[in-house]
Symmetry: C2
Amino acid sequence: MRITKILERTIPLATNISNSARSLQDIRTTIVAVVSDVIRGGKPLIGFAFSSIGRASHSAPVRERIAPRVLAAPPESVFNAAGTNFDPDKLHAVAMKNEKLGGDAERSAAIGTLNIAVWDLVAKIEEKPLHQVLAERFNGGDVQDRVFCYVGGGWYRPGQTTQDLQDEMRGHLAAGYSMLKMKVGGLALAEDCKRIEAVLKVIGDSKSLAVDANCIFDRQQAIACGKAIAPFGLRWYEEPCHPQDYETYKAVAEAYAPPLASCENLFSPRELENFLLYSGFRSDRDIIQIDPPLAYGISGYLRVIEIAQKHGFTRKSLFPHGGNLMGLHIAAGFGLGGCESYPGVFGAAGGFNDEVSLQNGYAILPQSPGLGFEMKPELFPMMREMIS
Amino acid sequence: MRITKILERTIPLATNISNSARSLQDIRTTIVAVVSDVIRGGKPLIGFAFSSIGRASHSAPVRERIAPRVLAAPPESVFNAAGTNFDPDKLHAVAMKNEKLGGDAERSAAIGTLNIAVWDLVAKIEEKPLHQVLAERFNGGDVQDRVFCYVGGGWYRPGQTTQDLQDEMRGHLAAGYSMLKMKVGGLALAEDCKRIEAVLKVIGDSKSLAVDANCIFDRQQAIACGKAIAPFGLRWYEEPCHPQDYETYKAVAEAYAPPLASCENLFSPRELENFLLYSGFRSDRDIIQIDPPLAYGISGYLRVIEIAQKHGFTRKSLFPHGGNLMGLHIAAGFGLGGCESYPGVFGAAGGFNDEVSLQNGYAILPQSPGLGFEMKPELFPMMREMIS
């Protein structure tokens, strides 16, 4: 049993959407494929994952140093104790070998995406969906059939009217979602508040709406926005400022009583540890949104859970960033608060797969082995092509 | 006047040295060349720089997104006010366009190396050495002819004896250096202390010796090493622990009264700001070693100086990491504490150039226009080849 090839390909994800901080026209994602010599149904099993949407290509570090390192490891050195499967944590340790401390963003996405592809492969070898493998190993066998799922929507689009925004939100509710998120910070504060009011008319319950500022504000603006939206009593106020500006987070947490959310732009358990030490985040209400493929994958996420719990947070405070099959399996498998969904944006990388349906705000979990990219017809042809 | 091409090439730097944390056998550096249409002596002026030694290749981000962005900018939009030269800060803003906040290590070295190559070009257009351009713009015209310079040496080598180590150090003193640095943390603490004692026999003054642990220790080990070496009264104790483990830095600063040094593994002014807010670093004695090409170049270093001063440090507390022409010009031009030198290691990227000599611990500054890589016969042929 061995890994025979590790392949990567970066694909463009055409969109015309913007958040408060930038246009998402040129974004890309890097797909990683881990090919094994384990044969099922006459074909080798292959693990797949893709990197966090919205950041750079991660092909080069995979190709230049991470994949060669992993392929050079003696096969038995990365087996589990019984020798029946690969051990993702051992492979993670090999991938990290001789990497210099600090600067996690140099490789955390390359290594994290590879790590999730390895977990996909491991679950396929076990012939179970990944959420089940994770629940059996890390959540006392509490295997779920559904997971709470909210829509990361309400983007700024060229020529968009309030009516368009309301129609978008009505569509999400009709599709089976119960909680929605929308962008703020891209317009003047008074206009953003009008957008929020318009969406609240559609959704009704203010606890079912979150807002996301995508790090756009300085300290004064972040507090001003918090004060303006506090009366709405929203589900959460996400990323008011720079992800590592802990002093501004602390000032916002002092000025804004309802829940805050952050951490999708942190690259490692170490960065999360510092965030929780210094940001004033409140374990009784605030939400941690580490993006697994960005921050060392599932092997990294095990440390994320440990650090969050050390700081008094429960698993229900964790909502992995990235509306895709990876976040879905991770949220379900670890018993987290829930996951995100991006219906209709991010092209082939958006959405879940054909097995997943929505009911009363919950996503019904897929049952294919692994993550189930094979059941995602917009994406899987690209994966098949890159390995052929 | 425009930039016509931006080229990059990653070259291996064969060494057999190790520090406490890792072998440096496979390290690389990325050279960036910024080609202009400004003709002098019948040839176009070209700016060169190379990335921080000891980290990964930075070719991909330069090639895939940074260079295309810079080349697409309207030429006049990146001129200085008089239209007589390029404005490196305007080019820096273009390079940063649409980059997502957080995760500086995704691009700070690519953008930083490009930025220093631009500064090399700007100084060549002014027909002055870069240290002079920097002193005129940022240090009240206080142009220096020499700068304090210490040796980053005392590595662990296969089969090395104490005598070998002493001979290495004697060689540095004979070459004109007065301050030396050696590695710790690669052996048991008692053995490392014996190495220090052996080197102190050669160098005499303990204020002329620093030690570098390359981030190897956990909190307990970092404090234990500090307590063991405190009686020596060394110049500084560098990087005891993980570069972002501020709580351990704080504990070491409480337990160890002599100077500490750190920050070569921080990737941005933002990371420095957090380090100074939380690490307990003492502005009256501790040393800040940001590596300019790693952390957004000279445009980034302007912010580094500002942040350090805001926290009570003077320019004399700053010693840029990286024993090369870039650190030399930056230390001299900004009037910093001094710079590092790596004689005889890191192959073509080690050392300064043929113009630089050492006298009583000071490096006599080069007078060629720009950084002066043209006068570095081990390295310049590679630069010439990549642009031909």
